[in-house]
Amino acid sequence: MDRLQYLFDALTPLNIALAWAGVIAGTVIGALPGLSATMAVAVLVPITFSMDPASGLIMLGAIYTGAIYGGAFAAILVNTPGTPSAIATTFDGFPMAKRGDGDLAVTLAAIASVCGGLVGALALLLLAPPLARVALAFGPVEYFWLAMLGLTLIAALSEGDLLKGLMGACFGLLLSMIGVAVVGGDVRFTLGMPQLLGGVEIVSALIGLYCIPVLIDMVSTPKAHLKVSTTPRGFRLGEALGLAWRHKVNLGRSSVIGTLVGILPGAGGSIAGLVAYSESRRTSKRSRHFGTGEPEGIMATESANNATVGGGFIPTLVLGIPGTPPDAVILGALLVQGIRTGPSLFTDQASISFTFIYGLLIATVLMLPTGLLIGRYAYKSIISLPKAVLVPTIAFMTVIGSYAIQNSAVDTVIMFTLGVVGWVLARFGFKPSPIVLGLVLGQIAEQGFVQGWLIGSATNDLVGMYFGRPLSIGIIAFIVLSLFYPLIAPRLKPRRPAPNAPETSSRKGAANAD
C-alpha cells in the first residue's frame, strides 16, 4: 500500500505540469529529424539541478518518452525515422501516408505508443529487480546472436530481390566498420582522414539514406508529396481504436518484446521495433500486405519502441547500467544529485524512484492527447504546405539535425554523401533499410562475436561459448524459425489473398513509395 502513497506524491499539480511540458517538448523534438531524445534530455539536465530530484526526473523521463513517440511523425509523413527506433515505422507508415491515410497512421502510432509505454512502465514498477537479472544473463555471444536475428530480417525486408537486399546489408556492414574498432583498436576504412576516426554516426546516416532521396524525388516529380483526402476526417480516433482492439494480441506481444529488448543495454529501440515487426508479420493473417501500408506494422513497431523506455530504465535504476543513451544522461543527472542507483534505490530511496515511475506512467497517458493534437497539426502542415516551402524546410532540418547530434560538421557531410549514394542506389532498386540494418547491427554483431571469441578461447570452449548457452540456443531457434518460416509456412496453411481489404485500399500507391 505504501507504493500507492507515491502515486499521490507524483500527482501534484507541479509534477503533472512538468510531465505535460516534457511530453510536449519531447514530441516536438522527436518529430524533427535529427533532434534526438538524448540531446533534449542533456540540454535540460542543468534545469533539474534546482528541482526536487523526483520532479526533475519526471520531466526528463517525460521528454524521453515523448521524443521516442515523436519520431513516428517524421517516419510516417516524410519517410525519415527521426530516431533509429522508428526505422520499422517507415515500412508501413509512409505507404499509408502516401495513399492518404497519414492521419490514421499518426493516430494509430499514438495509441500504440501509449500502450507500449504503459506496458514498459508497469514492468518497471512491478518487476524491475528480477527483470534486471535478464540484462546480466545476456553476454557478448547473446548480443551477437540477437544482432544475427535482426539481420535475418533483411530477407523479409527485401521482398522481391533478396540479392539486392543482401548487397545493401553488406554495404551497411562495411559502413559500420569505419573508424577505430572498439575491439582491437584498429583504424579501418578511414582513407587517411582523421575526421572518419569516429565512424559513421547512425542517426546522421539514417537522415541521409532516408530523407535525402525523398527530398530529391519531391523536387523531381510534379506530384503532391502525400495524397490529400477530400473530406476532413478528424483524428479518425474511433477507426484507430477499432483497429487497435482487433489487433490487441499484436499490441501486447510487441509491447512485451519491446520491454524485454529494452532491458538489454545497448540493444535499443531499433532492434525492439524490428523484432516486433517481424514477429507481427510472421503471425499475421495479412503478412503479404506488410510493407505496403499495413496498420499492424505501425502498431507493432510503435508499441515496441515506446516499451523500451520503461524497459531501459530497469537496468538503469536497478543496476546503474544505462539501457539507452538517454538513460545514460538521466543516470548522470542522478549521480550529480547524489543519488546512488542500485537495488537500494527501490528501498532506501523508494520515494524518489516510485514517484518517478508513477510520473513516467502519467507522462505516457498524457502522450495520447498531446500526440493526437501535435500529430494532427504536423499532418495538416505536411499536406497543405506547397513543396516549394516543404522541401527547403526539411532540407534545412536535415542539415541542422545531422550537425546537432555530435556538434560536428563531419556528420553533415556524411549525411549528405550517404543521401546521394542512397538516391543513386534506389535508382537501381536498392532500398535504404537493409543498408541501415547492416550499419546498426554490424557493430553489435562484431563486438559480440569478437568478445565471445576472446572469452571462449580463454576458457578453451569456443563451441560451447557460441552454441552451448541456453539463452543463445533460444535466440538461434528464433533465427532458424525466422529464416525458414517462409519456406515452411505455405505447406502449413495454404494462403489466399485476404478477401476484403479495407486497410490496404491501394497497392499502387505503395509501389512507388520507396
Binding site: L197, I321, G332, L335, V336, G342
Partner: protein, 325 residues
C-alpha cells in the same frame, strides 16, 4: 619638466592599470561553453556536471554551458580544439592517457602538445573489480589462479589501447602472469559483463567499485587508499609498483591569453577547494588532484614518458630512436 613627465607616466600607467585591472578581474563576464569530447553520461560528463553546479559561485556568477562533441574516443573534439574561438569563452575537457596515446598510435588529427590543458582536476585510479559473489577474495587469489591457468582469466574493460587495457598489461607484467583482456564499448558495457559473470574480473576504475554495490574491488592503483574504499589495498601495498588511472582536466584553444589561462586554472582550483564539491566527488570515488597551470609541464612530461614506455612494451609503437617524434 622631468617631474611632469614622471607624473604623466605614472598617470598613464594608472590609466592602463585601471583599464586592464577590472577586465582581468571580471573574467568571465558571460557564460563559458564547456565542450565534453565524449557523449553524455560518462565520467567526463558527470564530473563536468558536478563542476557546472559550483561554477557560478567561483566564476563571477556566470554559468558554464556544457556541450558534447563525441567521436573517435575524444579525438574528434581535440583535433578541432585549436580552431575554436580563443577569447577564453570556449573550454574543453581533456583526458590523460587518451591525449597521449591516441596521437602516438595513429594519426588522430592532433598532437599531444596541441591540447593546452590548464588544470587536471581529478583522476579515477585503475582498479581490479570482481562480481560480489566471486570466488576471488584478494588480488593474490586472482593472481594465483592466473598462474595456474595461463590465459584463462578474462578482464572486461573499456576499449582497446585504453587506460583499462594498459592496466591489465601492467598487471600481467608486474605479477608475471598471462591474462586475456576483453574490450567493451564503454565502462557501462564492461560493468554489465563483470556483474553478469561473463568475465572473471574487470580492469576498470575505482568509481565502478564505489557506484556498483554488486561488485567488489580487489585493489586500486592509487598512491594511498581511497576515502570511499577504505578497506581496499593499493597495488603498491601488494608489492605491485603501479599507480595509474584516467586524469580529467580542462583545456583551452591555442591563442588564449596567458592571463585568461591562469584565470581558468584558478577557477578550477577554487571549485576543487570547495568543501561541498570535494564531498560530492569523493563520495563518487573520484580522487581530486591539484595539477594547475604551474605544475602542468612537469606532469605532462612525466606522463608522456610513462606511456611512451608502456606503449613500446605493448608493441603499439616503434621504440623511439634519438631525435624522432
Amino acid at each position: 619638466m622631468e617631474t611632469f613627465r614622471t607624473l604623466m607616466g605614472a598617470a598613464g600607467l594608472a590609466v592602463a592599470l585601471a583599464a586592464a585591472g577590472p577586465a582581468v578581474a571580471e573574467y568571465p563576464e558571460k557564460p563559458v561553453t564547456y565542450i565534453i569530447p565524449f557523449g553524455p553520461g560518462g565520467e567526463s560528463d558527470i564530473t563536468a556536471r558536478m563542476q557546472q553546479e559550483f561554477w557560478p559561485k567561483h566564476a563571477n556568477d556566470e554559468e558554464v554551458v556544457i556541450q558534447y562533441k563525441p567521436g573517435g574516443g575524444g579525438s574528434q573534439a581535440w583535433s578541432q580544439l585549436n580552431s575554436m574561438a580563443s577569447d577564453g569563452y570556449t573550454i574543453m575537457g581533456a583526458n590523460v592517457p587518451h591525449t597521449i596515446l591516441q596521437p602516438m598510435i595513429a594519426d588522430s588529427g592532433y598532437q599531444t602538445d596541441d591540447v593546452n590543458v590548464v588544470h587536471y582536476f581529478h583522476y579515477t585510479p585503475d582498479a581490479v573489480v570482481v562480481p560480489k559473489d566471486s570466488e576471488f577474495q584478494t588480488l593474490q587469489d586472482l593472481i594465483d589462479h592466473a598462474k595456474e591457468n595461463p590465459g584463462a582469466v578474462t578482464f572486461a574493460g573499456s576499449g582497446s589501447n585504453s587506460a583499462n587495457h594498459l592496466m591489465q598489461q601492467q598487471l600481467d607484467k608486474l605479477a608475471g602472469i598471462t591474462t586475456t583482456y576483453v574490450p567493451f564499448k564503454g565502462t557501462g558495457a564492461a560493468v554489465q559483463a563483470i556483474m553478469g559473470n561473463q568475465t572473471t574480473a574487470g580492469a576498470t576504475y575505482s568509481t565502478v567499485g564505489v557506484n556498483y554495490p554488486e561488485t567488489r574491488v580487489l585493489a586500486v592503483a592509487a598512491e594511498e587508499r581511497l576515502p570511499s574504499l577504505p578497506d581496499v589495498p593499493t597495488f603498491q601495498e601488494l608489492g605491485l609498483d603501479w599507480v595509474g588511472g584516467a586524469y580529467r582536466g580542462v583545456a583551452v584553444p591555442a591563442g588564449v591569453s596567458e592571463d585568461i589561462k591562469q584565470q581558468v586554472s584558478d577557477i578550477v582550483s577554487d571549485i576543487n577547494a570547495d568543501p561541498a564539491f570535494r564531498q560530492k566527488m569523493e563520495d563518487g570515488g573520484f580522487v581530486l588532484t591539484a595539477i594547475d597551470l604551474e605544475k602542468m609541464p612537469a606532469f605532462l612530461e612525466e606522463q608522456k614518458a610513462k606511456y611512451r614506455g608502456i606503449a613500446e612494451e605493448m608493441g603499439l609503437v616503434e621504440p623511439q630512436t634519438a631525435g624522432s617524434e
